[in-house]
Symmetry: C2
Subunit: 141 residues, 2 copies
DNA sequence: TCGATGTCATTGCTGTTGCAACGACATTAA
DNA sequence: TTAATGTCGTTGCAACAGCAATGACATCGA
């Protein structure tokens, strides 16, 4: 029997993920000209307060280099403020500016709306998808 | 209320997808030194018989350029044979060589095993995930 | 037949990604 | 203190993705 890629779970998962990721990326690209890493950094900072690059790297599944570069761009754009940590001068303290917070306010509404549409589209399977994703994020590695 | 990326569906989906995609990619990388596009082309050819670049591009969510380059590399490696279409000389006819079929035989076992592990890991949510992915691949765009 | 338009595969180009190295700094042990 | 080791953020670099342009060929209409 030959192998059927169409029904192969990793493949299907990947296709679905990039598809909806792109749909959503188009929204915040239109709203604020953000890239994916920029969006993630911004979204994380909205919750975390002042935080280091390493911290974001660990939580948001972005390489350190991307966090660093995204943060620089966001700083240029006036959305993020970068300052030094008091005790440990290796660390950077990243936090949203007023402008950054204002943007995240708008973006979080867009995101919430997008997610609501998605859940509606999923119908009864939404809850199960949620649980499945939780499982897939649990294991080692 | 601030926005929580951790529970945002598109984000979670993306993280899960890249995570398991990498896990699996490590397997066929170890087995045959393949990249993602190469794997997809190979897997598709295993089912389809002789087929054009355009065809694969349409079915496998890969840019034409990547299909083309992957096919060239696979040809170099002796896994794929590239010939011209009889009627339409713009078209290329891609098909597996004996070596390619042999490799896909091994790979499809690895893939099937991997999927089985994944489904086991998912437990009762596996079926629902499947249905959810089907829904997510249905819509326009 | 001949031109206009369209399609196919390939190639170039540019921005993005992820890894590896680097320099600055911190921490620990002697 | 000083040396050794470890961690942090940044940068360099090479591989890769996606887009646009190209050239070869096909098709359609006059």
């Amino acid at each position: 029997m030959s192998f059927d890629l169409e029904s192969f779970l990793p493949y299907r998962l990947n296709v679905a993920a990039t598809r909806i990721s792109r749909r959503f990326a188009a929204l915040y690209e239109a709203e604020a000209g953000l890239t994916v890493p920029e969006w993630r950094v911004l979204a994380h900072l909205d919750r975390s307060g002042a935080v280091s690059v390493r911290d974001i790297h660990a939580r948001v599944h972005l390489d350190k280099s991307m966090v660093s570069r995204a943060a620089s761009r966001l700083e240029q754009a006036g959305l993020v403020q970068k300052s030094g940590h008091d005790r440990d001068r290796r660390l950077v303290a990243l936090e949203l500016t007023g402008q950054g917070r204002a943007l995240m306010h708008r973006l979080s509404q867009i995101a919430t709306g997008f997610q609501a549409d998605l859940i509606a589209e999923l119908g009864p399977e939404a809850g199960a998808l949620d649980r499945a994703l939780t499982r897939l994020s649990g294991g080692k590695d």
